[in-house]
């Protein structure tokens, strides 16, 4: 009690509740602290938001700027010193292969995610539920595959892809990208499936379903948050992938956004800056919107997967 009575900042411990002046002081201190906390919270949130989104805001603004406006050092980069134009967006969408890149990224992503789920979900189920002697070591082995990144394998992989006759062909990505997405997905899904109680499955078995049936009809619906997490993660990995695409693909029409934009919109020393920024905005916004919608599910799936895995 001496701590409180000597006027020092109150941090804990009992106080003499009958001392009204003391009580009032604590109350005021608490209100001050809460307010201070709120201010700190908003400050951090705003700064974080600005730093994170700043480049994108700038990208969006820049994509409409005319050349003289952009290429003047003294000009404010965040406002239109000269009237904005749609020319660069038109250029991007009509005069470059950007839409081809986007389409390539999209259908490759779709196929890779599908393959990932088709191969990874049963595999995760086998590891989580169908306990065999070799389940444990195999699980660890699969995880360790994740430690062999594309930047390690890209040189021999280029030869392997060549052997399949898929060099300079977008289909090479459909073949190779699952090697990146599947190990992580199995890791996430195994952890997630382990967290689902066995009762519902066992109920299905008692009701006359086979293991396979139970897996399809019962487990897969229950694993939905985990599946969403995997879809988000796998698509992200696919859309972001750079080195394999750069190594395998050289023709413009085969490229994905990730390598197409930096290589095709930069012709020698000439950077089509505004169109580049338009591309960034074009890609970032829809993905961000989808992410936000799914964030809740994603966190649920990821937590269970990562912690129990």
């Amino acid at each position: 009690m001496a701590r409180a009575q000597n006027g020092k900042s109150f941090s804990g411990g009992r106080i003499d509740v009958t001392n009204q002046a003391e009580v009032e002081r604590i109350r005021r201190q608490r209100r001050r602290r809460t307010r201070g906390g709120r201010i700190a919270l908003y400050t951090i949130a705003i700064i974080a938001g600005l730093i994170a989104a700043g480049p994108f805001i700038w990208s969006a603004i820049t994509s409409f700027k005319v050349d003289p406006d952009l290429y003047t050092k003294a000009n404010n980069p965040f406002i239109y010193n000269l009237p904005p134009t749609l020319e660069h967006w038109r250029f991007l969408l009509a005069d470059t292969q950007f839409l081809t890149f986007a389409w390539n990224t999209f259908w490759v992503g779709f196929l890779v995610v599908s393959i990932t789920l088709f191969v990874g979900l049963p595999a995760a189920y086998a590891l989580a539920r169908l306990e065999m002697k070799w389940s444990g070591p195999l699980g660890i082995a699969i995880f360790f595959v994740y430690l062999i990144p594309p930047t390690l394998l890209f040189i021999p992989m280029t030869r392997v892809v060549g052997n399949f006759g898929l060099l300079n062909n977008t289909w090479s990505l459909v073949l190779i990208y699952p090697t990146i997405t599947i190990p992580v997905s199995i890791w996430l899904l195994t952890g997630f499936l382990k967290g689902i109680p066995k009762d519902v499955e066992e109920q299905a078995l008692v009701d006359g379903y086979s293991r396979l049936s139970a897996f399809v009809r019962v487990v897969i619906p229950l694993a939905f948050p985990g599946i969403v997490a995997v879809i988000v993660f796998a698509f992200t990995l696919t859309a972001h992938e750079f080195i394999y695409a750069l190594s395998f693909l050289s023709s413009t029409t085969e490229k994905t956004i990730s390598i197409g934009v930096p290589t095709e919109l930069i012709r020698g020393d000439v950077f089509f800056w505004q169109s580049l920024q338009a591309a960034v905005v074009f890609v970032a916004l829809p993905i961000a919107l989808v992410f936000n919608l799914l964030l809740g599910r994603f966190i649920a799936g990821f937590t269970m997967g990562a912690v129990k895995g």
């Binding site: 941090s11 411990g13 709120r38 908003y42 949130a45 974080a48 938001g49 600005l50 994170a52 989104a53 480049p55 994108f56 820049t62 952009l70 290429y71 050092k73 980069p77 191969v119 990874g120 595999a123 086998a126 169908l130 360790f144 994740y146 430690l147 062999i148 990144p149 390690l152 890209f154 021999p156 992989m157 280029t158 030869r159 073949l175 090697t179 599947i182 078995l205 008692v206 086979s210 293991r211 396979l212 049936s213 992200t236 972001h240 750079f242 750069l246 990730s258 930096p262 950077f271 580049l276 960034v280 890609v283 970032a284 961000a288 936000n292 964030l295 994603f298 966190i299 990562a306 912690v307």
Partner: protein, 326 residues
């Protein structure tokens, strides 16, 4: 309970003395052979077969191939695998660029991760609370992660431009600098820029993961700590951080692998310059192997990634296991 009553005896007949209620009889009334769809051993193997084949064919095999390459003189002009012993390895260890790249790879990763962990924890603490406009902040904080690395790097290329950098414009406007900083032109600034971009793009992922960890702590434990007299800082130090350690470790592992194995940022921002000052192992392997055509040396350089990643993974996983509390 007779064996016929066991839950997994699907399809076996009920005991004779039990009156059959037609509504309760299971669909399979007689005793069929155990179907394939029930044989767990076969199912397990079947479910895992594609994965195993994929791993062997498309990961293990290229990995072995990389090792073989590194002991050969394979180039894009000479595709045959002729054994040359340790020649490539010696050449690499003799080159100054290699040691720079090795140092950079480690330094970039360690510094980035240190910054990421701190920032992500702070952000996670903020984002789990309720406040006005939370969805907007969340949306913004997620943006760096949603964009392909290459595209974001292209944006940063201009943001760090030696003449037109908007960042420098703002700094000049505030009167903090006179002439522009050559972010990508000076070695130290260039390294700092690369680290900054890595931190910028990975903080969102790390924050989301750590947020999940925060939300996994039961509310009653926070309540008990409040009642027990722990203020904000003490709660953070003694309760929140220790309990989120396992999941923070996972975030660190993911982030470290993402940074360590990345060549995109370096490739686009500096191409390894100025004069190889920001070269990392993976980017150098690319320049040597794909652009330069020296597949053998490229493969050898890339192989250096493996032991480092392995060591990091083992360390982190061990830390996770030790701090397991539930």
């Amino acid at each position: 309970m007779t064996p016929a009553d066991r839950a997994d005896g699907v399809g076996t007949a009920p005991p004779a003395n039990v009156t059959r209620n037609p509504e309760l009889t299971p669909r399979t009334r007689h005793q069929p052979k155990r179907k394939l769809a029930d044989n767990e051993s076969v199912l397990a193997k079947l479910f895992l077969l594609p994965t195993v084949i994929g791993i062997i064919g498309l990961v293990a095999f290229p990995f072995v191939l990389a090792i073989l390459f590194s002991f050969s003189d394979v180039t894009t002009g000479n595709p045959s695998l002729d054994f040359v012993g340790l020649r490539q390895w010696r050449a690499i260890l003799d080159s100054r660029v290699f040691w720079t790249a090795l140092r950079n790879t480690i330094v970039f990763t360690v510094v980035s991760m240190a910054l990421i962990v701190v920032i992500a924890h702070i952000l996670a603490t903020v984002l789990v609370k309720d406040f006005k406009g939370k969805w907007l902040v969340r949306f913004c904080v997620l943006l760096p992660w949603t964009t392909p690395v290459a595209l974001a790097a292209v944006s940063w290329l201009w943001l760090l431009n030696s003449i037109f950098s908007p960042i420098d414009w703002v700094l000049r406007w505030f009167g903090l600098i006179e002439t522009n900083l050559y972010y990508l032109g000076r070695p130290v600034l260039a390294m700092g820029s690369i680290i900054a971009v890595h931190v910028w793009r990975i903080v969102p992922v790390a924050t989301v993961i750590i947020m999940a960890g925060h939300m996994a702590i039961p509310g009653e434990i926070n309540d008990a700590a409040e009642i027990d007299g722990a203020g904000f800082w003490r709660k953070l130090r003694e309760i929140t951080i220790p309990l989120t350690l396992p999941i923070s470790a996972v975030a660190v592992l993911f982030g470290a692998i993402l940074t360590f194995a990345d060549m995109t940022v370096v490739f686009i921002l500096t191409r390894g310059g100025p004069t190889q000052a920001t070269q990392v192992l993976s980017s150098w392997a690319f320049f040597k192997g794909i652009e330069g055509g020296d597949l053998a040396q490229g493969a050898a350089v890339a192989l250096f990634l493996f032991p480092l990643l392995l060591a990091a993974a083992i360390l982190i996983l061990r830390a996770v296991r030790r701090s397991e509390v539930i």
